[in-house]
Symmetry: C2
Subunit: 328 residues, 2 copies
DNA sequence: TTGTAGGCGTTATCAG
DNA sequence: CTGATAACGCCTACAA
């Protein structure tokens, strides 16, 4: 490995002069500086990240932590983060799995963006206490070193539920996320509020998992209990697609017997037959905002918690109930 | 930041003893060791990654470099890599973009898995010359520090092309990847070989880009030139889907007028109407094998270049030509 | 403008 | 078994 010491020797100066020259300090003559740069190039010098991090106590790297690498949501999200990070001279790395958590306390990264339920809140707070900078996308956490950028789950779930109600469905199944999912709980809360406002609405909760399998199990239950057209709100699109899959070779048709809406607007949603109604939001913006907030915290700036707004996407997976009274 | 020096002070021993105890050396009494461990825990000690990397000249981190974070192929691929890495005590980080290339020469990571055309081969060889360990998934490169794990593109493209021929199509469009794509070139080569073996097969190359837009442009051209049912081989599924999208509101129907096969078997393929015929391979295995090879190189073991096998997936996007002679 | 020297946190060598 | 001590590569007062 070639170090600044080697450059110093070759250029006939001291290592500190090399360091100054390499870092573009004006404390060095242009002449010696260019001599040093030339030597560095010739020797194929590459600075050592570990040494620099050790001394400067920063790595200029941000870590994004995800539950897994699958999932259609992540592509745009990470793209948004990277764009912001790079613009400010930071690199973004993506990590998954418990084992990689260590990178945060060990200061391998300057900060973390968390979208990973396997990261417990206690763990995050513990790191934040020791001065790690964190932005969470999947929970609420009050701590000076932690900021949160959350989806407007309440608005989204309200839109979705009211959509089903407006289309004339009184009986509505809601397929939840896994236990402990913040998004799931928030969305459920909004569903309940809508139900409270609509006296004649009956709703049934089905425990899901945000994966296809949850939608499949829900499909089985709905089919067993089926008597008349119903509304179904899957708390994410992936479960909605699992539900469609399972129902596809039965007598129950989506958009006719089962009126389905999801959440996330993943790419697949628009390829479903019929097109899946769902809740949309800008994944890129979400990621970008999260990164912005994190970099601000790192810079020591004050930040406010931010929210990502959502909108409803129509789809023929929900059609108007034949029995509904049209009020217009 | 609490360092081993602090622990040493608290436990009343020297820093070297602390280091030994922390690393589980048997050169320390169980008694002092447990005293040290207790002190470490009490002080919330976390080792500093930069310091350790600097001294040990390894980070126990592997980097996967992708063109972008989108793309359905990556989820499983990265999952396979991570599994292998973790099992051997390595962490996996995912990087994208030119800026992050520096992590390799700067020794922030112990090795890299490359699936990213924006990494030039010269750059990779330069790093390999300086002792970086690399596995490439998207090119061929002869270098002692570089190994390659490639798809069996030839077999896949041959299967796909012959599938169209067997179904009775004489005129076959082939939509390529972007210029310089290794996969695209390999697949094209195989197409040409099949064409050479089938005298009456006519094939037309359309320049694509492995993105939806390429498929859309191809659709336009095919539609302009359409006279009778044709076969189309999109060199990846994403372009095939772009092509379907663009054709969906025209008079040309997939599986009737345009007989389409893709490559990759992404999740969306099985949701297309009709189901997209394509070439499948285990993305998880691909990633796992790449990681295995890389860790072997790092360990100094000899490795052979490996290949990932492929298979054909039937789909109604290709049906038998009405004019074809059935030979059975 | 350049050089000297100390230190970041860790590991590892070599004496005690 | 334990303790000094010297690196690892880089940065940065401070001194010259």
């Amino acid at each position: 490995m070639v170090s600044i010491k080697d450059i110093a020797k070759k250029a006939g100066v001291s290592i500190s002069t090399v360091s100054y020259a390499l870092n573009g300090s004006d404390k060095v003559t242009d002449e010696t500086s260019s001599k040093i740069l030339a030597a560095a190039k010739e020797l194929n010098y590459v600075p050592n990240a570990a040494a620099r991090s050790l001394k400067k106590r920063e790595s200029k790297i941000i870590g994004a932590f995800l539950t897994d690498f699958k999932g259609d949501v992540y592509g745009e999200l990470l793209g948004g983060m990277k764009e912001v990070c790079n613009a400010q001279g930071y690199d973004l790395i993506v990590c998954s799995g418990k084992q990689s958590h260590r990178m945060l306390p060990e200061k391998m990264i300057d900060g973390a963006i968390i979208l990973d339920q396997t990261f417990t809140s206690e763990e995050l707070v513990r790191y934040a206490d020791r001065n790690s900078k964190i932005v969470v996308l999947d929970r609420e956490l009050g701590h000076p070193n932690i900021n949160q950028v959350l989806l407007d789950n309440k608005a989204g779930a309200t839109l979705a539920t009211e959509y089903l109600v407006d289309k004339g469905y009184k009986k509505i199944y809601v397929v939840t996320g896994p236990d402990g999912s913040f998004d799931s709980m928030q969305r459920m809360k909004a569903v309940k509020l809508v139900a409270d406002r609509n006296e004649d609405m009956e709703w049934i909760e089905i425990a899901g998992d945000f994966m296809k399998s949850g939608g499949e199990r829900a499909a089985d239950q709905i089919r067993r209990e089926y008597t008349q057209p119903v509304g179904v709100f899957c708390l994410n699109d992936e479960m909605a697609i699992g539900l469609c899959d399972r129902l596809s070779d039965t007598e129950l048709q989506i958009g006719k017997h089962v009126h389905l809406i999801g959440f996330d607007n993943i790419e697949l949603a628009r390829y479903m037959q019929p097109r899946l109604a769902t809740i949309d939001y800008s994944k890129r913006k979400w990621g970008a905002l999260a990164a912005e907030q994190l970099l601000k915290i790192i810079a020591g700036d004050k930040v406010e918690n931010e929210r990502i707004y959502v909108s409803l996407v129509d789809g023929d997976s929900v059609t108007r109930s034949a029995h509904s009274h049209t009020h217009e």
